[in-house]
């Protein structure tokens, strides 16, 4: 069996904000075709991990290395990371009044295409793509032409994130608490959308507090992030165990070892 392609390799990553260290030596490799869930209590560094990978300027990487499809990710600007195929589904999607979703996405898609040396997409092809991909998350066609996230409900915003993911077809999608604020129907739709986008070529990192989402997006691996490090790794059953025993169980374990 040939070795699977590595999408991202995070080695001993240390990162801090305002001088306070949040990530304290995180190591994780995600291969093509895999879904990894990152779980952990509040303040463990889950959202920091997403922010650091996406290139948020407030965070300073003090140590470690991240290879993204063989490229040194930490040397790239946020937009270069995006163009290389790193996508972050935001926990709190941002509203941009007066900018239509379509205009926003077409600009983004064309920047990515230009980066790959491709020509801009034609209006006709683009609209066909919008129609096809909006079905994946049952996104109301009207929302596509509205201003980015403006006046969207919580569920619509999260659907819109996955719709954008579908349009931009990233190598790695990081879903930062995509389940927060969703009712059970919206959760199912969003999760089904993500499942449709799973392929042997891409990888998905699901950051979540709760096991609930993982009933729908079944992960290959579950990692427990605690105090800036991955302290436990297992299969999907680990999520169930966590749900049952709580994070105190991990803490307890750590203390005893």
């Amino acid at each position: 069996m040939t070795q699977k392609k590595k999408i991202i390799e995070i080695k001993n990553l240390h990162a801090s904000i305002d001088g306070k260290e949040i990530l304290k030596g995180l190591t994780l490799t995600i291969n093509a075709g895999e879904v990894h869930a990152i779980m952990g209590p509040n303040g463990a560094g889950k959202s920091t991990l997403a922010s650091v990978l996406a290139g948020r300027e407030e965070y300073e990487v003090t140590e470690g290395e991240v290879l993204f499809d063989g490229v040194n990710l930490l040397e790239l600007s946020p937009e270069e990371r995006a163009r290389e195929g790193l996508f972050l589904a935001f926990q709190y999607p941002i509203e941009i009044p007066g900018v239509s979703n379509i205009n926003f996405l077409r600009t983004a898609l064309n920047e990515i295409r230009e980066h790959k040396g491709e020509t801009p997409i034609s209006a006709k092809e683009f609209m066909a793509l919008v129609r096809e991909k909006s079905k994946i998350v049952e996104l109301d066609a009207k929302l596509a032409s509205r201003s980015v996230n403006e006046g969207f409900s919580g569920g619509e915003k999260k659907k819109n994130e996955i719709f954008q993911m579908a349009m931009l077809n990233p190598k790695l999608a990081i879903l930062d608490e995509t389940d927060s604020g969703l009712d059970i129907d919206a959760l199912r739709i969003v999760a089904n959308g993500v499942n449709k986008l799973r392929s042997d070529e891409n990888a998905i990192m699901v950051i979540t507090h709760y096991q609930r989402l993982l009933d729908y997006i079944v992960p290959d691996f579950v990692h427990v992030l605690y105090d800036g490090k991955i302290v436990k790794t297992g299969g999907k059953d680990l999520a169930l165990e966590l749900e049952e025993k709580g994070y105190d169980w991990i803490k307890h374990d750590l203390v005893n070892n």
Partner: protein
């Protein structure tokens, strides 16, 4: 890591140079500097004007001499030295061009630098351009087609010669020479401008477009525009402006009068990017303009402006809603950068019953600039059921700039309904990051966010003008990413 902070943005904005700073090398015919009755007689003579117009100018001059320059606006500047200004400059070649092909290469080059190359203009079907270079029209197109419909669209000088009755009947009826200091000055020394007349019931089939330029060093420009829409007619009028880069401040004091008779509609759009001065606040155009329109019964006047240029702007396109059921609209985007100062807004004067007005103002301040909205909504006792909606938004790009709002409301009728909304916000780092995370560059992100913010106003512009306005906004606010 190339992270783009607001500080970087502020720095980039300061470094943003004016891209249209150039001078077209065409010989000019000038008169001595300074202003007195002899100079006015000379201007009038050079333009071969009728006696009544000379009298009008002299009367205005005498009014102006006894007036004091106004100081109530939220702007600070060195007062123009009126004795140092050359009040008339005309390109020496006065030949009129039959087609764009006859226009000199220098002029074409100028147009190209303005981003309105002839090639581009030609493609924009349905746009008639009256190009004003230092006060005298050097080219007019589409005239024949308009003539068939009885539409008059020509330079002001030509109108004085060809249609003296129409000019005499309407000149100064909306903005009287006694109105204000700069309107009086303009009435005395205006050199050229545009005249437009739409006959009864005619819908003008194309956008009428004029590009103004201030070209000669040290020449003040005093444009005069008069648009008359007769009963039941419609016209959309576009005005665009650029001025070459000069060290001394140049004065521009235009007067625009719009007359919309019963059931007529005038849409007046302006894109202004005169030289704003350098990053230290040196040089730049003083733009002191009086623009006003009057609406008769069921008439409508809509002002749309995108103001990105000038060192000091003092401008309030206004509507007198005289006739019952008349409508006035004002849509404005004003961008200030470096040391630019803008005090702009509108006046909506409700006289007739059921009159309606809408004011949408979007201010964007960057650098160390000051951006003020000043507006007056006045409902007279006669204006039963008058309605006004005002929305004034300010966007701050740095923490060194200022945004100010001075809304005045005077209401003398209890049945009136007046609404005012205002917001102030700072461009969001989160918005920029969201765009970056989707692969969009900083420059495009800022341009997109700003254009989105201005959308309600840009939507009011005719298509081709909106594209130009978007480009201008981007030029005014883009930064070199590094």
């Amino acid at each position: 890591m190339a992270n783009y902070t607001e500080d970087d943005l502020a720095k980039d904005l300061e470094q943003q140079e004016y891209k249209f700073g150039f001078t077209t090398d065409i010989e000019s015919d000038k008169i001595p500097k300074g202003l007195n009755e002899d100079i006015i007689r000379l201007i009038s003579k050079k333009k071969e004007e009728p006696e009544w117009l000379l009298e009008y100018r002299l009367k205005a001059y005498r009014v102006w001499k006894n007036m004091v320059e106004p100081e109530w606006a939220h702007v600070e500047y060195e007062k123009p030295k009126f004795d140092e200004i050359i009040y008339y400059a005309a390109p020496k070649q006065k030949k009129k061009y039959e087609s764009w092909d006859d226009v000199e290469p220098e002029l074409k080059e100028t147009m190209k630098k303005l981003g309105i190359s002839m090639e581009e203009q030609k493609r924009l079907t349905g746009v008639a351009v009256d190009f004003v270079m230092d006060s005298v029209s050097v080219a007019t197109s589409f005239k024949e087609k308009l003539k068939e419909l009885g539409i008059i669209f020509c330079s002001f000088s030509e109108a004085v010669q060809e249609y003296p009755e129409l000019v005499k009947e309407h000149l100064g009826t909306v903005v009287p020479m006694t109105d204000n200091f700069y309107a009086a000055l303009n009435s005395a020394v205006f050199t050229d401008g545009s005249f437009c007349y739409i006959p009864k019931g005619v819908k003008c089939p194309m956008e009428l477009s004029t590009y103004f330029r201030i070209n000669e060093s040290g020449t003040g420009q005093f444009e005069r525009t008069l648009v008359v829409a007769d009963e039941g007619s419609y016209v959309s009028y576009l005005e665009g402006c650029t001025a070459p880069q000069r060290d001394e401040n140049q004065l521009h004091a235009a007067v625009v009068e719009l007359i919309a008779k019963d059931n007529a509609e005038i849409k007046y759009s302006t894109v202004q990017n005169w030289y704003p001065g350098d990053k230290d606040g040196k040089g730049g155009v003083y733009n002191f303009v009086t623009k006003r329109g009057i609406c008769e019964r069921n008439a409508k006047i809509s002002w749309t402006q995108v103001e990105t240029g000038s060192a000091v702007t003092w401008k309030y396109p206004s509507c007198i809603l005289k006739g019952d059921n008349s409508v006035g609209e004002f849509y404005s985007v004003a961008v200030t950068n470096n040391y630019q100062q803008a005090d702009t807004g509108t006046k909506m004067i409700h006289l007739g019953k059921n009159t309606k007005s809408t004011i949408i103002s979007k201010g964007i301040s960057a650098g160390k600039s000051q951006n003020s909205y000043r507006g007056l909504v006045q409902v007279h006792a006669s204006a039963d059921h008058a309605r006004n909606f005002s929305q004034c938004d300010s966007l701050l790009m740095t923490d060194k700039c200022g945004a100010h709002t001075f809304p005045y409301i005077e209401c003398k009728n209890k049945t009136a309904k007046i609404e005012h909304e205002a917001t102030t916000s700072k461009i969001g780092e989160d918005q920029i990051f969201y765009c970056l995370q989707r692969g969009i560059s900083e420059e495009k992100a800022i341009s997109m966010i700003v254009n989105g913010y201005c959308k309600e106003v840009l939507n009011q512009l005719p298509m081709e003008f909106a594209v130009e306005a978007q480009k201008l906004l981007t030029i005014s606010l883009e930064g070199s990413v590094g």
